[in-house]
Structures are given as structure tokens and as C-alpha cells.
Symmetry: D2
């Protein structure tokens, strides 16, 4: 963590310009009938989870180019996550991935308290083989043709629940790589029946106050079919399992051209939106930084979320899920958390009464302009003021670079190799 | 129609070569444990519906280049469809599109009998405005924001049911163009609620022995969102409406790269596959001739259908739905009907016991090869023999060209204009 | 046109808020070292051409839903275009499409003077058949297998040049629909050789001070292959023809996921970027309003243009090319012209010295942020101030709606039919 | 290698059925005016290169699930490749990847002679960092902003040439991962200028009788832009470098929906088709087995190749490039080599005189059918007879499984780990 006075000193320099821009924006919003303080308060209360694995450098099947000072284990990772939250005030929780982050629950809790963090959803892993694992997931896990492999995968998920229970998590996200690489390799129907049966066994072990999340993905690591290929299948899973089963949406897991915000709306309408894995993508599951490629799409997703806010039981989980191949992961995560906040703030500016009227009258031009007007508003001062007020950094990136944190951990932590996987 | 003796004469010339190739194939299949006669009988019993509008030349938003001798109305269309069935023996039913094909039921029945045809599903049209129509569908039909427009669209569908009831149809396919062209133009959730409410009103008017079909499509004519954008939404509609509501799959209505055969499997698994609009596509809803672009994909769809055959209640409707912009529509429809038969015959050759074994053992190579071996088999002699035995043409294309039918109707029918729409 | 005092009155109401926001933005930009006045002057000098056909309501192959008061011919269209320029000050030229806009050159010049407009590139049409046309383009035009069809298409293009020459145009844009719908239908190589030979004949008739533009498109109206399918082929055409031949880029004419701004950069680098047909798209050649779907992509294109500004000989043509199916075309064109200006203004704000430094040091995070910071800036006050200063409307949409222009022309002009094509 | 008598014994069992099917096919082809022996001879003379890395199990960024008996180095790999050629008679050459396959040239030559193989193109690797490498390729290699990194990458390529020269290779294929993950990260133009300058330095070191191959790819490992993103850029590289520079086409490296066979035709037309990396794909660079997903597309590519055969200087290189994640790599490579032969044999059956006539007359239906007729022909007996006659296996897959080779090498070779990369 960084010394608070360092942050305060940096903020002092930037504060007067911020106040000038915040006031100017406040006046402009006031002319539009919007109270900037109310928007700021909502932004301030917003938090997004960091995936523990996100603070390591990612890679591709071709190579991984590690950075310096990479976290060597979950406790290093929690240090990095704590810093991100300290500087942005926007990332209060960390999501663990088992077995990578497996550790003594007491130690995890202690470290979380030390770093000012809580624990988000637990993530299971049956898409890789672990060194001491009796049976291989090469041909699937929860949907494998062999009962013993499925059982091993089920038990791993139950183990994740138990660990999560002890550290205060309230959700399990199931990760699988099941699918096929050849037409004919798998019988689609039997494979899905096996998946459902396994998922039911996991669901049966879910504590009453937990939620179960499943995620759809069109391809990768399987390249002809995946067992949860799209939101249609994902919805069927959630419906088959029960009322505590929900669907996750990862922005990079869809076919080209697909209207993702509409999928979000459908899942909300049918009570099955569990949450998000935020990132951005241009081609596939590129896992680029959120908002880096198509910030308007991100805004349109938040437009649906703000529209649904207040619906009873509507409480989607928000997490970043990115692969940082060419940037310092801490920088990317800070920036992405702020991009998510930005989209949220912009969506809060939409004049929903006017929008509903234009929609009712089929005034497509004014409806479109109503969204665009909110999107065009540069809400940077609102985000920065929310940070300033909670003691975080006006400019987290600058404060981080100035802090020397990366140099420090580079000295303290062992170098990581070019192998080691580029998995996110 | 063509004189039967003309067909017989053409067949006589081709018969000996056919018998030689049929016998050689029979021997080869026998070595694989397959009875060629049993395959031929199934192919012979198979029939696919022709859409009435398919016998006219299609077009694009850029232009329509009419052919000669285009059918001027439903009775001309039935003549053309009758000929297609006469030559191929594979297209026993015609699917009508209202209001284009609206006519006195008695006349329709009489003409159908004359041409040896039956009536397949009725198709409604609320994606266009008709000259005498009080309210416009410019901003939607079943999901329009105004109740009176929705009511008009509902009543049109009920009218289609009533007409269909009188001529012996047993299904209604709902066609809409509802969607939006701008983010914000429509509230996704309210729009879908309105769609569902309207569809329920139509479903309430469905005779007990009818089925209701809805079709998903990712885009066109709407270019930002469509109200039934994918199979997930389509499934929800069918489930919400009731047990006689089913989903249609059009091969050209999906996002790029999507695994269509898997969608077919999912809809079968959850009891909601209603049937198909067959065509082929490379880019979007290209409505090209079935099997012209990716014949293996067509085979993989039929692989699912043959796999599910015999499941109680499994009875999908098969129809061609193509836009013939550069070919004689009669030729394209004949050829496409035969391509569908080809895929069906190939799928019948799959050794399903062996396949199931390879799947169970995760022998991806042999599973793939099991499908490929069936697909590679040139089943042309089986299809031709099935035609020969029912008095249809061994080579329908050659027989048609030789018949002079197009020249004859070109003399009899008025020329059609370059306008008139390119709608399929 | 609208009375100037009406515009002035509307501006008077909005002026003080505009000045407050312009000043606040000026101060913020000043802190970033940017002179707002210099940006405003560049925006003010920027103009984009309107396609004559854009002021009519577009459609799809499924239907066209006309608006009211649609222009009945080129002179009505010029009235509409004149109004757009009057209100936005951003659209000084109109691009004609022959034969739709064919008229006496003297009349065209007189009307242009009356409406305050000039003439941009001429657009030929060999993708449709005209009523009195001897030979059909059903199977192609410039690449048709028959020499006489190619000759007819060449002569049409030469006619367009001659008409353009008389009215002061300086460029020809070739429009074709050539391609194929079936594998095998066309020999790719021979077809392209014929296209090149025809294009050379047109190029030979080009006046010395003219440019020839060709445009690539992946599909539609042909659905298996198009003769100028991508920028690679488009570049080869321009290189084969000569130094006055250039490539147009239409944002909706690419395969899914393609990086369009990179294509723009490549064409600039090799001296062949001719210009743009601006619009937006989500699926195919959707021809939606510019910036409606992905405004960041539009900004990234302008980032390349601003980066290349000043390169000798670099002078791309800018035109809107949209299909307005659900909006008042005048509103869409005004708004789209402003969206293009917006992207230009944002691109002018990029700190290119800093960006070059970040690129050199592979600081991906700061390079990305440098672009995002410019994009996030709400430049609306700059655009509005530029309009105010030239006597155009601060809020063109509001001024237009208030003017009653649409109601007036609805009374004066005959209603147009639902047919008539939806071609853009 | 397998004992020849084992193969002979397996062939003996299968020979009579093969002869029956070969003769029946011969008669059927004779009726179409085709000499089966001539086709068989061309197939027999055809060979495709195996990539050395293809005999190892591939993986994804998520995991690699190794098989048993994986080759531990280039000499093991050559053993596996030799077996593939022994059984299929279709893969006479191996393509080496440096530094993975770096070894003493004399040893390589000796091993090649022992295994009956020759050496195809050399493949350089600047997309990974090697343990002892002074400078990192994290931010690019040939296009890196720093001259010293570019120089290191150039020298590596020159080293590959020198090694290749000593073992009889005649071509270098450049492999890079250069691109960017964020808009703004790289200046497209400067990056490409650097790439071209580096490539010129490599080209300058190319022996007179060598060819230089570059390959385009739309994405991965870079996810916003790649420096050789498509064939347009690839063509520009080949043209800029000189007459011995050519373009490679990998079937999985294109945007969705792109017409690859047309790209092949364009590169042939402009004299720059260097060759292929064969595989199949459904979503991205899936590197699935050739022909596994869309065999008709593969046929259409070979249709272009057969059409161009005989053109002076036309001599494309053929290589498989696949990632075998769920199959035994030896099986996949054997099968894929046969699939390529299959497409070649089918393309040889196209009646090109008839096709040219249908194209000239715009008879799209018959042109399409001419291709489909060739594609539908089950040429399996031709391929098998060609193998039988050269002492290879009638059924390579069965012979391989029967041979016990995998079990044998599993005993002899050390187990490989789950890490190690999944790179192809």
C-alpha cells in the first residue's frame, strides 16, 4: 500500500483544477435538471470486484511476456488488489480462483482485513489439469462421458464452496472448458444432460444464501462447440437448476455482431441476470481492458442496468475479467474500474422520462440523441471528486507511477517465467 | 405440368447408367452393413414444402431483375410448384403467404388438387404495409407501442389461420419485421412484453390441431435490434405461449460463426423445434440455394434430425425459403429439394452405434470420420432411383430444360416489372 | 429554406448557455494546452457532402415505409439539402446519382446557386436496370461476360462524367453490383480482368483534373462474391488504373470485426485513400446514421485523418451515405453531419506529441488514454459555436422541428409509394 | 517406422474391396469422360509438408493436455513424420521451426535420410522470448520501435536461412506476433514502415533460389491490430520486397465470412500466391484438422489451384498447420494430408470446359452443379489405390492403430508436462 500522505500530496496539486471542472459540469448538468451531487454519491457507492488472477500478466497460446514484480501467490495478489482499491476507491472485493488461490481461510481473512478488501464470488477450475489430479479434464469435466471424471469435477466445486463459505463469499462461478473440436466428437444432447446433472449436484451443495453463476462462451478452449455456447443455453441451465442459479455475461464471449445489451435486457426480464465479467474485445475473447475498444457498447449495457435498478431481487455481480498482456496489470485494473464507473455515471445521466416518451412516440432520432447526450458528457470530474472525497487519488495512474510500487515489488518478488500460462 | 411420357422417355435414356451406379453403391453400402433399399425408401417418403413466393424471382434492396414467365398470382405459382413436384417427387406441399396469396378457399383447394399438391403452414405478413391498410407497420406490428396497430396485426394473423383452416393447413408461421435501428429507439423489455401479449392473442385463436411457429433472426429489416433476435428469445416465446408453439430455424438468420446444428439439438432436447426454413448463406440472410455454400453444415443439421427421429412428438416442418435472384426459380427449387434429400440420405448412412461408441470413448478422430464417411458417400443414385420409381425424373433439371415449360409460360404470362420487391 | 430571422431567434434563446459552456470548455482545454478557437476554426471550415438520394426515405428488400413530403425529384432534393446546409453550415455540396438525378445542367446549376450548394462527386448506376435500357445488368455490368453489356456500362459512366463536367463536379464514383451468388458462377480472375479493362476505358475518359473513385464491399447485392470485395482488390484497381484513381471506404462494407481505421491508414500510406462514405453499421451494410452504433470507431478513423493532414496530395472526399428508414431524412443527415464534425473535433484534441512518445516507449496504457481523453471531451459547444458564428442554428434539430418545413413540403409534394426501392 | 510387411498384410485384407470400388468408380468416371488413372497419377505425385511442431499435442492459453509418447525433440519429431509419410505416401517433407528444431545440420540431414524425408520451408520465431535472448519481443519484433530489437529479429531470420541452406530448404516463412492491443498503442503507418524495412534486410540475405513467405492474420496474439492483418497488406509486402517474396494463406486467419478462395484467386492473378498453411476453423485461428469443418471450402480453394495449374511460375507451397488438442497428432496429420489430397482429386474432376461455357452464358445453376458434381464424387478409392501402389497403407489410420507405435514411443520417450505451450 502507499502512504496516505503521498496520495494527499498528489491530490493537493490537482484539486483546484478538479474543483473548477466539477463546478462547471455541475452547472451544465443543472441546466439539464440533474443534480451532480446525487450522481457523484451513486458513483461513490459503486464497487467492482477484481479477479485475483488479473494482477498477473496474461498471455496467449503463443507466448506470455511476464512483467516485473509479478505476484507470486494469493497474498501478493491481495497486496496488489489492496493498492488498486486504495487508489481508486472502486474495487472493494477480490474474486478467488481455486486451486490457484487455495490457502488457509484464516490467513486469507487476515490478509483481506490488512488490505481492506472483501471476498467476491469463488471461481472453480476444471478446465486445466493440476499436478496431483487423478483424472484428466482433456475431454471435459462436468459433462465428461465418464462418471468418475464428472464426480471429481463436482467435488472440486463443492470444495470451492466450502472454502468460500469460510471466508465470507456468497457465490460460486463455475468455470469449464467442456465442448468439442470436431463435428461428431460429442453428442450435443447427452453432453448437455450430463452437464445439467453435474450442475444439479453442485447446486445441491450451495448454501441457502449463495448464488450459483454459469457463464456462456461461443468458443475457446473448444473450437467446434462449447457446452454453454450462448445465453439461450445459459438461461436453460439457470432455469433448470433453480432460483439461486443465475447467468453471467462476459462481454467477449459472443458471436460477432451480437447485440449484447439486448441479451442483458432479456436476462433481466426473465430474472436470470447474475452479473458480469467486464472486459472489451474486437475479435473473440480478447480480454482487453474494459471500454478500450467500444465504450458506447459498455454504456449501452449500463443503460440497461440503470433502467432495471430498483427491480426487486435485481442485484447483478460486477467483476473485471481481463488479460493484461502488454500493460502493468495494476494500471489496467485501475483504469478499467474507472471505465466501468464512467459508463455507470453516464447511464445515470440519461433522462429516462424523456426517453420513454420518445420511445412511445417512435421518435427514433430523439431517443437516440437522449442516450448520446448522456454518453457524450465527460463525467471525469464526477469520478475524480468521488475519489477525492474518500481519500483515494484524483489521478490513480499518476499516483501509482509516482509511488514506485512496481519497482519495490520487483525487488521483493521472484521473477516469473515466460511459461506459466496466459489464462484468464 | 409436363406430359408423363416426356419424363418417361428422358428416364429411359438415363436408366441403365443409373442402375449400374445404384448397384455399385448398393454393393459398397452392403460392405458397410447398410441396406440401400431401406435408405431409398426413407428418401422416397421424404417431402419438403415449397414457399409460394419462391417461384418468383427475388431481389435485393438495390434491384430486382425479373425472369421471364414469372407467375402472376397464386394460381400460376401453384402450377409452377406442381411441376416441381412432378419432376422431383419431393415437394408435395406449398406454403401460402397472406395477403399475397389470398384467394377463395374453394379455388385454392381445386387448384391444389389439379396440381397434386397440399397446403403447408400459412405465413402472415406484418412487415409490409398493404395499400388498403389503415395503420402502418413502419415502427413495428405485434410489438408496436400503439395498441391499435398491434390489434390490426393480431387480426391479420387470425385471418391467416381462418383461411388456412379452410384449405387444410395445420400451422401458422408468424412473420414480423419488428425491431429498432438506433440504440434507445425501443425499450427492449417493454417491446418484448408487447410482442408476447400479441402472440398470446394469436395463440388463443389457434385450432387445437394446429401449431404456431415463430422464427428468430439477428438482423434485417431492422439493423440495430430485432425483437426475436436469436433462438434464446425464440425459445422463450414458445415456452411462454404453450405446448403448440414451436421455434423455426432458418439457416441464414444467425450471427457469424454460430453453430447452428447445436441450436437444432438444443431445441429438440427442450421439445421446441418446430421446423426449418432451408437455404444457404455466406454473409447474412442471403437466401441462397440450400447446400450451395456449405453442404457439410446442412448434413450436420440432418445428422441431428436423424438422431432424434422416433422421439415421441418429434415432427419438424421442412420448407425451403430462398431468394432466386440469378437463376430460374423452378430450377433452384428442384435442385434445393434434392440437396435437402441428399443431406437426409447421407445422415441415414451414419453408423450411429459406432458413433456412440467413439463418443463415449472420446475418440474424436473416429467420431469425426464416422460422420465424414457418411457425408462423402455420393448418394445421387439413391435419390434418382427413388424418383424413377415414383415416376419423377431421373434428372429433373435436364427434363425441365427439355420440356420448354419456361418458354411456354413466358408466352402465356404478362411480364413483371423490375420493381415489385425482392422479398423472401 | 427557413427564414434567417427564425434561426436567429432560436439562437438568441440558446446563446447564453452556449457561451457559458464554450467558455468552461475553453478553460479546460487551455489547461491541456489547447486553443479552443483554433479547433473551432478548423471545424467551421470542414464540410461534408450530402448524397442526393439521402433525403428520401430508404428501405429494405422487405419493405419501404415512405415518410411524408418526400422529394419528388432532384430539385426537391436540392431544396432539402439546402436546408440542411443552412441549419448546420456543414454540408456545402451535394453528390448526384445518375440517372435518378439526370437533368439539364443549366437548371442544376441554377438550383444549386439558389440553395447555396455545390456539386460533389458524380455517382453512376449500373446495378439496376432502367426502363429504356437495351441490355440488362442482371449478370453484371463492367465485368459482364458480354462485351456489349460492358460497353453500355462504360458509356453510362462516361455520360456521368460529361454531365458532371458541365456542373462543376470533379470526381466520378463507380457503383456496381457485380459479383456472383454461387461458387462457380463466375471465374474470379476473368471477371476481374474484365472489370479492370472496363474501368480503364472509363479512366481514359476522365478529365485531367478529376479523380476516379471505386468502392469495395464484401457482399450485397451479390451474396457469394463481389468483384471488389475488399480494400486489397480496391487498391489493386486504383494502382492498375493510374494516379487519379483512388479508393473509397464505406464504414459498412467490411467483414465482421475488421479494423477499418487500419485500412484507412494503409490506403493513406500507399497514396490511394480517395475518401469516405460515412454511416454506421452493426451487422452488414446497415447504412445507419453515422456514429449511431460505434462512435469510438468513427473517432479512430478521424484520428488517422488528422494524423495524415498536411501530407502533400492528401485530400480525401467526405460524404454521408445512409439509408433513413425510420427517421426524417433531413434530421438524420443534419445529425450525422454533426457527428462527423464531432469526431473531427475530438481527433483535433489528441496530443500527438505525447502520443508519439508513448508509442515510441510502448506505453500502451498512456497511448490509449491519450486517445480516450480526446474522445471523452464533449466538443458540442465547439460545434455549436462554429454554427452560431456562421449564422447556422445552435440546435439544428430543434430549429428544423420548429420551422414546420416538413409539414409545408408534405402539402406541396405528392405522396410517394411503398414501393420505389430502398436503395442506398 | 513400421515394418513393411505389417502394412502389406493389412493391405492384403482390404485390397479386393478397394479394387471393386476403384473399378466401379472408374466406370462411373469413364461415363463422364474422365480417366481415373490420370487422376490417380496426379494424386500420387502430390505431396504436402508436415510442420515439425504438428506432431506434438497443441493447446490453448487455458491449458495443454499432453498425449503420451510425445516427441521430445526434432529427432523424435522426424521419426513421427517419417511414419506419417510411410503410411500415407503423401507427406514427403518436413518444415522446421527455429529455435525449437535447431540442431547440427549434418544430424538433421542424416535423420531425414533415415526417415525418408526432405526439408520444406524454414520457420522463424520472433513471437516468443527464448531463455537466453537479450531483448524481448513483448512489444514486437520486426516492427518494434527500437532498432536493436528489430536487428535481433532480423538476425534470427538470417540464421534460419543459413541453417536451412545447409539442409536443403528453399524458403523462409517469417513468423511474427507484432501488432497492438489498444487503439493508439502503435502508429499503424510507422509500424508497417519498420516492418517493411526489416523484411527488406531479411530479403537481402535470401539465396537466389529461395522464396520468402509472409503470412497475414487478422488477430492473435495481438487483439486490436496485427501488422499483417489481411491479404491486402500481405500483398503489399510481397510487392515491396521483390519477385521472390510471396504470400502464404492460412485458412483460419481471416475475418468471419470472408471468401478465401477469392483471395487465393487474386493472389494467383497478381503473381504472389506463395502457398498455404492448411487447417480448418469455425471461429478464429482454431487450427482444426483440415476439412473437418467445411470441406466444400477446401475444395473451392483447390478448384482455384487446379484452374491455375500450368501457369508459368505457379508453384505454391503446401503445408499443414494445425493444433491437435484432442487427437493423436499422428492420426490427425495423416487424415488431414488425405483430406487435402481428396480436395485436390475432386478439383481434378471438374469439367472445366463445361464450366467455362456455363460461366460465359451466366448459367449459374449449371456452373454450380458442375462444381458440386465433382465435389460429391467419393474419391476415396483413388486415394487408397495411389497409396497401395506406392506401398503405403490402404487405411493408414487402421494400420497405425494396429502397429502399436504410440505405445512403443510412450515407453521410450519421457512424459511431457501440461505446460510447455500450445503454440501452432
Amino acid at each position: 500500500m502507499i502512504d496516505k500522505t503521498t496520495i494527499a500530496a498528489a491530490n493537493e496539486t490537482a484539486e483546484s483544477a478538479l474543483r473548477a471542472e466539477y463546478d462547471a459540469l455541475g452547472e451544465a448538468l443543472d441546466r439539464r435538471g440533474i443534480d451532480i451531487g446525487a450522481v457523484k454519491d451513486k458513483v461513490s457507492a459503486y464497487g467492482i470486484a477484481i479477479p485475483s488472477w488479473g494482477v498477473g500478466t496474461g498471455g496467449t497460446r503463443f507466448a506470455r511476456f511476464p512483467g516485473t514484480g509479478e505476484p507470486a501467490g494469493i497474498f501478493d495478489k491481495l497486496d496488489d488488489c489492496g493498492l488498486i482499491h486504495q487508489l481508486t476507491g472502486a474495487t472493494p472485493r477480490v474474486s478467488l480462483h481455486v486451486p490457484w488461490d487455495d490457502a488457509d481461510p484464516a490467513d486469507l481473512i487476515a490478509k483481506a482485513e490488512e488490505t481492506g478488501l472483501g471476498f467476491d464470488a469463488m471461481n472453480s477450475n476444471t478446465f486445466q489439469d493440476q499436478p496431483d489430479q487423478p483424472l484428466s479434464y482433456k475431454f471435459g469435466s462436468l459433462s465428461h462421458t465418464k462418471a468418475e471424471v464428472r464426480q471429481q469435477a463436482i467435488e472440486h466445486n463443492l470444495y470451492c464452496i466450502e472454502l468460500g463459505r469460510q471466508i465470507g463469499s456468497k457465490a460460486l462461478t463455475i468455470w469449464v472448458g467442456d465442448g468439442s473440436n470436431f463435428p461428431g466428437q460429442s453428442n450435443f444432447t447427452k453432453q448437455f444432460e450430463r452437464y445439467l446433472a453435474s450442475a444439479r449436484d453442485i447446486y445441491a451443495g450451495l448454501p441457502e444464501d449463495w448464488r450459483l453463476f454459469t457463464e456462456h462462451k461461443i468458443f475457446e478452449p473448444a473450437f467446434y462447440s462449447t457446452v454453454v455456447q450462448d445465453w439461450g443455453t445459459n438461461y436453460l441451465i439457470a432455469r433448470e437448476l433453480g432460483e439461486r442459479a443465475y447467468c453471467l455475461v462476459d462481454l467477449g464471449h459472443h458471436a460477432p455482431n451480437v447485440n449484447i445489451e439486448m441479451i442483458v435486457a432479456r436476462l433481466i426480464q426473465f430474472g436470470k441476470l447474475g452479473g458480469f465479467h467486464f472486459n472489451d474485445s474486437k475479435y473473440g475473447d480478447d480480454d482487453l481492458d474494459t471500454g478500450a475498444i467500444d465504450p458506447y457498447r459498455l454504456f449501452l449495457v449500463f443503460n440497461e442496468l440503470v433502467d432495471a435498478a430498483g427491480t426487486p431481487g435485481f442485484d447483478p455481480a460486477h467483476m473485471l475479467d481481463q488479460s493484461h498482456n502488454v500493460t502493468d496489470p495494476i494500471e489496467s485494473l485501475m483504469n478499467s474500474a474507472m471505465e466501468v464507473q464512467r459508463a455507470y455515471a453516464q447511464a445515470l445521466l440519461v433522462n429516462r422520462t424523456a426517453l420513454a416518451g420518445f420511445q412511445e412516440e417512435n421518435d427514433a432520432m430523439m431517443a437516440s440523441e437522449t442516450l448520446k447526450r448522456a454518453f457524450r458528457t465527460d463525467v471525469t470530474p464526477i469520478l475524480a471528486m468521488a475519489r477525492l472525497e474518500k481519500g483515494a487519488a484524483i489521478d490513480p495512474l499518476a499516483a501509482y507511477r509516482h509511488s514506485g510500487y512496481r519497482a519495490k515489488v520487483t525487488e521483493e518478488r521472484p521473477a516469473s517465467g515466460a511459461g506459466g500460462g496466459g489464462i484468464v
